[in-house]
C-alpha cells in the first residue's frame, strides 16, 4: 500500500500534525473570509454596532484624558513648601545653617531655605507695621526656621521625614501642612475612582452590546450552526467565525473611540493652551498618551472576543444533546 493510501485508510483521526495544522489554518482563513463577507453584506448593522461601541468606549477615554490633565494641573499647583522646621532658642545661626545643609542632602528633600531669627523678626515687624528696633528691644522670641520642599507630596513620605526630624536635638518643632495635601490627595483619588467607575460601566456596556449582537447572529444562523454540527464540526469550528466577528467589532469600535478621543483633544487643545499661557504653565496641556490609546484598543478587542465567546458558547450549550 502506498503512503497516501495508508494515511487515507487510517481515517481522519490519525492524520499528521502538519496536515492538521494546515487544515486548522485553512479553517481560520475560511472563517475570516466568511466573517468579512457577512459584515460587508450587512454593512448597515455592522456600522451601527461599531459606532455604538466606539461612542461607549470613548467615554472612559475622554474621562481618562480629563483625569490625566487634572493630575498635571495639580502637579503645577503643588509648589508650596511642605515642611517647616523650627530650631531651639539656643541653636546658633551657624548650627542652623549646618542643619539645613544636612537636611538638603536627604533623599526625599528637593530643596531647603533657611530663615534666620533676625530675618523672621524683620518680616514680622513689617507685617505688624512696627520698626524692627522696637521689636528687638523686647527680645527676639522667634526661632531660626528651615523650609523644606520634598520630592514627593505623599503623606507617607512627609511622615517619614517628620519622624526623622523629631529626633534631632536642634529641632524644637516641625510644622507640616498636611491638611491641604490630604485634601489634594482626596480630590485626585476621587477623580481616579470616578474614572474607574466610568471605565467599568463603559466596558460592561461594550461586553453586553457585543454579546447581544453575537447572540442575535448565532440565533439568525442557528440552522447553519445546527447543520454544521450535525455533519461533524466541533465547537471550535462553529465558534471561530463568531470570534472573528467579535474581534472585528472590538477593533473597529476601538478605532472609532480613538478617533472621537483625538477629535476632542484637538477641539479643546486651543482653549487649554490659552489658559495654560495665561497662568505661565507651558507644560499644562491635555494628555492622551500613546500607551493609553493602545490600551484602549487592546481592551476593545479583548472585550469583543470575550463577548463573542461567552455568547456563542451559551448558544451552543442550548443545542447540546441531553
Amino acid at each position: 500500500m502506498t503512503k497516501a493510501g495508508q494515511a487515507a485508510s487510517r481515517g481522519t483521526s490519525k492524520v499528521s500534525f502538519a496536515r492538521r495544522f494546515a487544515n486548522w489554518r485553512l479553517h481560520h482563513r475560511l472563517a475570516r473570509r466568511d466573517t468579512l463577507g457577512r459584515m460587508g453584506r450587512h454593512w448597515v448593522s455592522t456600522l451601527l454596532t461599531v459606532l455604538v461601541m466606539g461612542v461607549v468606549l470613548s467615554l472612559p477615554a475622554a474621562l481618562s484624558m480629563g483625569v490625566l490633565t487634572l493630575d498635571a494641573a495639580l502637579a503645577e499647583v503643588d509648589r508650596g513648601d511642605s515642611i517647616t522646621v523650627m530650631t531651639h532658642d539656643s541653636v546658633s545661626l551657624a548650627q542652623a545653617s549646618k542643619l539645613s545643609e544636612e537636611l538638603a542632602s536627604l533623599a526625599l528633600v528637593e530643596s531647603v531655605s533657611l530663615v534666620s531669627k533676625e530675618q523672621a523678626l524683620t518680616e514680622l515687624s513689617q507685617w505688624l507695621g512696627l520698626s524692627p528696633e522696637v521689636l528687638a528691644s523686647l527680645g527676639n522670641p522667634l526661632p531660626h526656621s528651615i523650609s523644606l520642599r520634598l520630592t514627593s507630596t505623599q503623606p507617607e513620605a512627609l511622615q517619614a521625614v517628620t519622624d526623622q526630624l523629631a529626633n534631632n536635638p536642634f529641632v524644637a518643632d516641625v510644622l507640616l501642612d498636611m491638611e491641604w495635601l490630604t485634601r489634594l490627595q482626596s480630590i485626585a483619588l476621587f477623580g481616579e475612582r470616578l474614572l474607574w467607575a466610568f471605565v467599568a460601566i463603559a466596558l460592561l456596556a461594550c461586553l453586553l452590546i457585543i454579546g447581544n449582537t453575537i447572540r442575535l447572529a448565532v440565533e439568525n444562523r442557528r440552522q447553519e450552526v445546527l447543520v454544521t454540527k450535525l455533519v461533524g464540526a466541533n465547537n471550535a469550528y462553529v465558534i471561530r467565525p463568531f470570534l472573528y466577528t467579535g474581534f472585528a467589532y472590538g477593533a473597529a469600535g476601538g478605532l472609532v473611540a480613538l478617533l472621537i478621543a483625538y477629535s476632542v483633544k484637538y477641539w479643546l487643545g486651543g482653549p487649554i493652551e490659552a489658559l495654560a499661557n495665561s497662568y505661565q504653565a507651558p507644560n499644562f496641556a491635555l494628555r492622551f498618551p500613546i500607551p493609553l490609546a493602545l490600551g484602549l484598543l487592546l481592551t476593545a478587542v479583548v472585550l469583543g472576543i470575550v463577548g463573542a465567546w461567552v455568547s456563542a458558547r451559551r448558544q451552543l450549550k442550548l443545542i447540546e444533546p441531553r
Binding site: T12, L226, V231, N234, N235, P321
Partner: protein, 222 residues
Amino acid sequence: MIEFDRVSKRYDSGRDALRELSLFIEPEELVFLTGHSGAGKSTLLKLIMIMERQTRGRVIVNGNDLQAVKGGGIAKHRQDIGVVFQDHQLLYDRSVYDNVALPLLICGFEHRDIGRRVRAALDKVGLLDKEKSNPEALSGGEQQRVGIARAVASRPKILLADEPTGNLDPALSAEIMALFRAFSRAGVTVLIATHDLALISRMQHRILTLKDGALVTGGGRD
C-alpha cells in the same frame, strides 16, 4: 453496525418516545424504519447521531458505546455518519458545491481530494452540472439529492435518512430509494425512516415497525 440494548428515552416534557427498545443492524444492511408519526422514528435517529441521549439502556454504533462519547468525540462520531433530512437542511448562502464540500472541509480532506469527492458524489446523484447553482434554484427532488450527495461525500460507514422521500412524487421517491440501495451494496449501513409503506414493501428489505416507542416487528439479528 448499530445496536440498541433496551433503550428508553423520556423527554423533559414527560413523554416516553422509546420504551425498552432493542435492535441490531448488520454492517452493509439496508433497513427501513416505519411507524405513525410520534412513534419514535426521529428519536431513534437522533440517539444514533447523539443529538439526544437515551434515558436508559445502551446504544452501540461501530463498536462504540455512545454513552461514553462526549465533547469533541461527538463531532468525530458524527463525521462517520451521513445524514439525509426530510427538509434537506441545505445552506442557502452558498453553492451546491460548497454545501456538499462542507463535511469534507470539516473532516480535513485535502483541497484536491475535496474537489474529486464532491464531483463524484454529485455525479452519483446526477447533479454534476448544478455544482455552481444555489440550492434555492433547484427543485425539491434536486435539493434532496444534494442533501444525499452531502451525506455520502465523505464515504461514511453509516447513512441515516429521515423521511427522505417525504415531499416527493412516487417516481422521484423510487429514484431516491434506488440511490440508497446502491450505497448499501457499496458497503454502507443504511437506515431509512419513512412512512411510505407502499414503496418500501416492494423493496424486500428488513422493516422495523415502531409503535408508541416500542418495536412491533423486525428487531432481532435474523
